[in-house]
Amino acid sequence: MNDTIVAISDVSKRYAGAVQPALAGVSLDIRRNEFFTLLGPSGCGKTTLLRLIAGFGMPDSGQISLDGKLLGQTPPNLRPINTVFQSYALFPHMSVAENIGFGLEMLGQPRETVRSRVTEMLRLVRLEGMGERRPAQLSGGQQQRVALARALAPAPKVLLLDEPLSALDLKLRREMQIELKRLQTETGITFVFVTHDQEEALAMSDRLAVMRDGVVMQVGSPENLYDRPANLFVAEFIGEANFWNATCLERSGAGGRFAIGTSKAVMPVAEAQGLAEGAKAVLVVRPERITLGAAEPGLLHGTVETAVYRGSDLVVHAALAGGGELRARLPGSIAAAGLIGTATGFAFPADAVRVFPA
């Protein structure tokens, strides 16, 4: 089931009057039946890419194909792709049922088929009995569900969702994340989901693409991007991490040994390809990979400044001996009181470190 359904190849787009292109040579393969996420900061081109897939606007160069067929100039109404708009864009003068049935009606489905499909969709998004209401008579979360049902009703090959959860409060957002994931699994439709919330992206996606300034920085599974970020931008954007300036002391095999800052701490690193001895580098370590160690020479030393108990874990901030800061996520069973103000040694395994040229 790993075949490509949407192939985007070298797509560029610049809006009239803009200096920077909104998309600069984007290539992506979106697979059939996957939950694919476009993640990136505001203005990186996520909406632009989604609109090009839907058919609202054409790429300046490059191509998009659906199921192996080039989309070219095909207008939106002839693409078997539906969109959940950020503002929902529910038709205010139609009932919920008319909204949901609109796509099927336009496709010329018989009235009976439309009616039964609408009932089915109302059940799917848990809005049974609300078909006769107007969108204005629904809460934000319910409107969101109607927008989803309306886009899913014609059973499109691909469903595009542009920050569909951004207008909801945190609790509702969590609920809808689970709901969306359930709908995607149940319908088996390919979802292309846009968000700038990295937690949401990690939680929901089968695979995701991190974008910046119209360029794709990395594509992969959530685990892949979290554990093996391809560059500093992805490392910073996804999850929390420590970033330490370091110097390469010695290379051996794939890895090497690095001195952090001006301290005497020398840390072994499992993978350090492309860095020569003496090169300046940035070491990246996730806070949960750090453990407490004895204050031995060669280890990272610091003074704990704050330790916040969070139930499952203890979040520790420390000032490093050679300058710089450290953030660690220790097991919640460690007592905070004994740590604060004390000089402590910190350790992490060699394979927990990602190294990038500075």
Binding site: A54, G55, F56, P75, P76, N77, L78, I81, N82, T83, F85, S87, A89, L90, F91, P92, H93, F102, G103, M106, L107, R134, P135, A136, G140, Q143, R150, A151, P154
Partner: protein, 271 residues
């Protein structure tokens, strides 16, 4: 209490406002009251009577004039509203400078003295060879009604979320079905209001009609003017009151049916 501290709240403005209202409405009230006067001396009240209404409505020439007025107003309203709607939709799609320029040009006729438009249209009709009659009046009315119809439609369109049209296209609606199912119903209150303004402007127009109406194309205002030249009779008052009543009735009908959907969609946008 707060109002008293408002910087623009000068002493005496309330009195001035009341005087202005009085000035606006006293003549109309006098007109209506005198239309029920039994005397044939226009300005001396002798008793209540519907005599002048009976006489006005029994006057065949006058009935023809009313018929002409309604025909012209109906035709001009349909034509001007259709033109204004397409203009609003077309201009909305074009951007920036083009839009500003075209909107300015559309609004300009509202500022041009009516007499200038009247003379210009008369010259045009003579030049092109349009025979003066009902047709020329309808054409002329269509022209000056377009800006009246345009603005309510335009402001309604500005409040319309463009994502709604996109959503319809996204859901497989071809352009014409999208227009009929989404844009048209949502613009309806604006189109209605525009048509109403056009209808009333047409119904009450005198100057332009007077210039471009040929024989047999006399409208009610032109007919009333003709009557006044031979002296103001209470029949003129009765006629004017009927015209006033017709205008107010149209406004009332449209506001009743027109404001409800408008409020509904506005509520949705904020929720």
């Amino acid at each position: 209490m707060n109002e008293a501290r408002h910087p623009l709240r000068l002493p005496g403005t309330a009195v001035l406002a009341a005087l202005a209202m009085l000035f606006l409405y006293v003549p109309i009230i006098v007109l209506v009251v005198l239309s029920f006067n039994a005397s044939d001396m226009t300005t001396i009240w002798t008793g209540f009577s519907l005599h002048w209404y009976a006489q006005a409505l029994g006057n065949d020439t006058m009935l023809v004039a009313i018929g002409n007025s309604l025909t012209v107003a109906a035709a001009a309203t349909v034509l001007a509203t259709a033109a204004a709607t397409s203009a609003a939709l077309g201009i909305a799609r074009s951007g920036g400078r083009v839009r500003t320029a075209v909107e300015g040009l559309l609004g300009l006729p509202l500022l041009i003295p009516e007499i200038v438009t009247a003379v210009a249209l008369l010259m045009l009709f003579v030049l092109v060879g349009v025979r003066l009659g009902l047709m020329s009046v309808i054409l002329a009315h269509t022209v000056f009604c377009i800006p009246f119809a345009y603005y309510p439609i335009r402001s309604r369109l500005a409040a319309l979320d463009p994502a709604l049209g996109e959503a319809a296209s996204d859901l497989y609606a071809p352009a014409w079905r999208r227009f009929l199912r989404i844009e048209l119903p949502l613009l309806a209150p604006g189109i209605f209001a525009g048509a109403l303004l056009a209808f009333i402007s047409s119904l009450g127009d005198f100057v332009i009609t007077y210039f471009v109406a040929g024989p047999g194309a006399t409208t009610l205002p032109v007919y009333i003017y003709g009557m006044i030249r031979t002296g103001i009779t209470p029949e003129v008052n009765a006629l004017s009151t009927l015209l006033l009543l017709a205008s107010v009735a149209v406004v009332a009908i449209v506001f009743r049916s027109g404001t409800t959907p408008a409020n509904q969609t506005r509520g949705e946008k904020t929720s």
